[in-house]
Amino acid sequence: MKIQSYRLVRFLNNFFLYLILTFFALVMIFPFLYMLTTSFKTPADTFRYPPRMMPRNAVTTTVAGYDEPLPLYYVDVDGQQKQYALAKSNIKVGTYAPASDLTSTVERYLTEVKPTGGATNQQKVEVNGKQEKLFDVTVDGQVIPMILISQTTVGEFVDPQAPETKVYRNVRLSEPVESLGGHPENYTEVIELNNMARALTNTALVTILVVLGQLLTSVVGGYAFARLKFPGRDTVFVFYLGTVMIPFVMLIVPLYQLMVLIGWTDRLAALIIPWIFSAYGTFLMRQHFITFPKEIEEAALIDGASRLQILRQILIPASVPALATQATFTFLYAWNSFFWPLVIINVGNEKNHVLTLALNVLRGRASDTPNLILAGAAIAIVPPLIVFIFGQRFFVESVASSGVKG
């Protein structure tokens, strides 16, 4: 009895914890899902209210007597819901009634009704103190002058099995028949619209070079700090440490002027060369190398190995996880960076745009097609996510252990 109640408490406790976890997980994941599903929608679908998660296609069907496939709609026919095809839309229909009895209305196409007395000399009648125009409406073969009470636009719906059966309903109020289905062509469209292919290769190029360059300088620099004794080392190291906290915005103006001076404005080089030297990366590598046992190295030195050989053949192969972690961080930083490219690459110079800049341009260019904007956002967001999913385990582990702020 007692054990059972303990189990119940524990179950409730866990249930409550999972509830919290799941709620936050949904909050975290929802914008990503929204981005992905919206990027496969048609523009009309994105503007629907209430919003729906999954992308949908309008179902069409071929009807005898019509060249193009027609979209299907749910239509109420004699109290039954049926799927009819929309054959013609924008048909104007007027509701007419005789001036003597405004409640007995009839509906006619505007084109079928002629003004009473001709278009130039249309007769009028006074209804409720207002002058109303009269129209000749044919009811059961008789022409009766009536006034126009209201006017709407309807569509002509036909039964796909029996095309001669037609009904007229308001198109906007009818619900289209839809099936789940995406539009991957949004992606090709956004790539063509906005030079995204070039931006993607530029981003890949910049990211690869920054990652490789930064690894190289950080590894040799970190090794020097960790293992070699030379005068001035500790002073320089303290200097490095002191600058880790300095925000990047401090540098943006003078770095820009430096780029103007050496002629790298509007150049990809400006996005690469300054970023392959990282005080922080060097610091992390030093922290890693310092944990490495000294004895192995000393043995190799006695065997006549040079420092470079030791680094290449002993230390680097043993530091793959640390290197991979730093590479991932640098990858994310280079891939996602926006402020510096915005400053250094001109908006008009689209052949040197990176993805974030292309997105900034796309935002203005496709402001009425969210599906395209979010397809562009997905192109920028999904590659890092893939890298993350593959390297997730030790990546998150290493954040946890080293406390790196991305």
Binding site: K229, L355, P384
Partner: protein
């Protein structure tokens, strides 16, 4: 051993040449330094001339000193000589690359790189093949062959890649560019300095100058550090000093900057407070509106204070940035604290949740802001839709008639900044959760066991053990999140149109810096803003540091 006599002939010769070379180097460097200062570079700004002649004079002096040291066969001469030649060699290499338009040519590579990208995939496949042998338990022979195959695949893939990105025409272009005077001079420099490095670096020369192992470590140390250090000096420390200099000038990025003293800072800090006699009194009645603009007013009853500043946008930006940090930091830290404690309870699936929470922090802020822009859409966005659903549910449940607010998230000045805060909090929360989780896992379990024995409840343990033990992590998380929050820019820039938001409600410090420096090109002023921002950030960090130290003193 047999080569020793030969080396003995060569080494004295090299040393004699080296002494002469150092003398020549000193004279040349001094000559160039003097020409640069006298008028060899008429267009260059003063700071560049000063820097150039300073460097060259130091080099000339060191080179002369080194010549003397080498003459008396002191090893110090070798170290200085190697350092000078190394720097000159790096400089001429950079010149070669620059004249050959390698840096600029990266743009052209951008054009062809897309074609080569798939072949880099082959290289990666080859790498995995060759590294497989470390994990396989098969016989030695097959491992070897796997490694070989992997190598060949890598080489093959890389050659295909080079072919696809048009390396041949690139190299030809490079060589063509080099065949002009500047290129040839640079190549000659590379050759001369390279030869000097070889002569001094070779083992017999070192032996002749009685080099010790500690000397080799000095040389290796500076050599290994040099790529990083040079880059750090050129692209970080140098610009940082320049930024400080620019903040005292009227620099506009293109013309020669003029020294204007503290004028930039004076303009930023030029503020006035004035008492209002009625809440609706106009600013022009109490301050000189030719100089000051109203930033805000504090009204209590019939009495009020008007706050006016010469640069109203700066103070608005400061206000918005501080407001942003004030909300975004707790919103991303407190939920993270709760979540990390939940995750720490060792339930199954913890790693999955941890990964999910981490996802937002690795996505590009630009992309994320675009996604949220549509989530925030007042008519079709999901956020208003959820609010509507919630209100309907509430109304049905309690038979009320609460009106749906239909918030205009980004176009209403009351909610615009809050919209940005939500995005930032959403994005940093997961990262903070992981940091807290790491801190939690470092708390020894015995503490909790002891507390359980003493009869402490879960709540007591949280207040009594978890929070105090987590204090260093909390300090780190709060500090880094604050520093990040103070630099908020990208979310605002993408989400708002215009970025300042309705009625300047989302203008932030960095946004204002960007606008001053890169839209109005008042770069001296922008530098001053940057330094004020730095002082604010530094002050906030210092306050947190003090509080952290006080609380830890209190505990012990």
């Amino acid at each position: 051993m047999s080569e020793h006599p030969k080396a003995d002939i060569l080494t004295p010769l090299i040393l004699r040449i080296a002494v002469a070379w150092r003398g020549l180097f000193a004279v040349l460097a001094a000559a160039v330094a003097i020409t640069a200062w006298v008028g060899g570079l008429p267009e260059a700004p003063t700071w560049q001339k000063v820097l150039l002649s300073l460097f060259l004079s130091i080099a000339a002096l060191l080179s002369a000193f080194s010549a003397q040291q080498l003459a008396v066969r002191n090893h110090r001469g070798r170290i200085i000589s190697l350092a000078l030649d190394y720097l000159a060699f790096v400089a001429s290499t950079v010149m070669v690359l620059n004249v050959g338009e390698v840096f600029i040519g990266i743009d052209a590579l951008g054009e062809t790189f897309g074609r080569g990208l798939p072949y880099l995939g082959i290289v990666i496949v080859g790498y995995f093949l060759s590294s497989l042998d470390e994990y396989s338990n098969r016989k030695r022979t097959s491992e070897q062959s796997l490694k070989q195959v992997g190598r060949w695949v890598m080489i093959f893939g890389f050659i295909l890649f080079l072919w696809q990105v048009d390396t041949v025409s690139g190299v030809l272009y490079f060589l063509g560019k080099l065949a002009q005077p500047a290129g040839l001079v640079s190549v000659a420099g590379m050759v001369i300095f390279g030869a000097a490095l070889w002569g001094m670096g070779r083992q017999p020369t070192a032996v002749a100058l009685r080099a010790k192992t500690s000397h080799e470590q000095i040389l290796n140390g500076w050599l290994f550090l040099s790529p990083n250090l040079l880059g750090f000096l050129i692209f970080f420390a140098g610009p940082l000093l320049l930024s400080f200099y620019f903040s005292f000038t009227d620099s506009d990025a293109f013309n020669t900057p003029n020294w204007i003293g503290f004028a930039n800072y004076a303009k930023i800090l030029n503020i006035r407070f004035a008492t209002l006699t009625s809440p609706t009194q106009l600013a022009r009645d109490v301050v000189d509106i030719k100089i000051y603009d109203e930033v805000g007013r504090l009204v209590i009853g019939n009495w009020g204070i008007l706050f006016a500043a010469a640069d109203k946008f700066f103070w608005l930006a400061l206000r918005n940035t501080l407001t942003f940090a004030l909300f975004a930091v707790p919103l991303s830290v407190l939920p993270a604290l709760v979540l990390s404690n939940v995750l720490n309870s060792k339930l199954t699936g913890m790693k999955f949740f941890r990964a999910v929470y981490f996802m937002p922090s690795i996505a590009a802020v630009v992309g994320i802001s675009l996604v949220w822009q549509w989530l925030y859409n007042a008519t079709i966005g999901y956020i208003n839709y959820f609010i509507t659903l919630g209100i309907e549910f509430w109304n049905n449940l309690f038979n009320l008639a609460v009106v749906d607010p239909k918030i205009q998230w980004v176009s209403d000045e009351k909610t615009a900044l809050f919209a940005v805060i939500l995005i930032a909090a959403w994005q940093t929360m997961g990262f903070n959760t992981v940091l807290f989780l790491a801190g939690l896992q470092n708390i020894p379990g015995e503490l909790y066991e002891a507390a359980t024995v003493d009869g402490a409840g879960a709540w007591d343990k949280f207040w009594g053990i978890t929070l105090p033990m987590l204090a260093p992590t909390t300090f780190y998380v709060v500090t880094t999140t604050t520093i990040q929050a103070m630099q908020v820019f990208e979310q605002v820039f993408i989400l708002m149109n215009p970025p300042e938001g309705p009625n300047n409600s989302t203008i932030t410090m960095v946004l204002y810096l960007y606008r001053s420096g890169f839209q109005n090109f008042k770069q001296g002023y922008a530098s001053a803003i940057a330094w004020v921002l730095f002082i604010v950030i530094f002050g906030l960090t210092l306050i947190q540091f003090q509080r952290q130290r006080q609380s830890s003193i209190y505990e012990s």
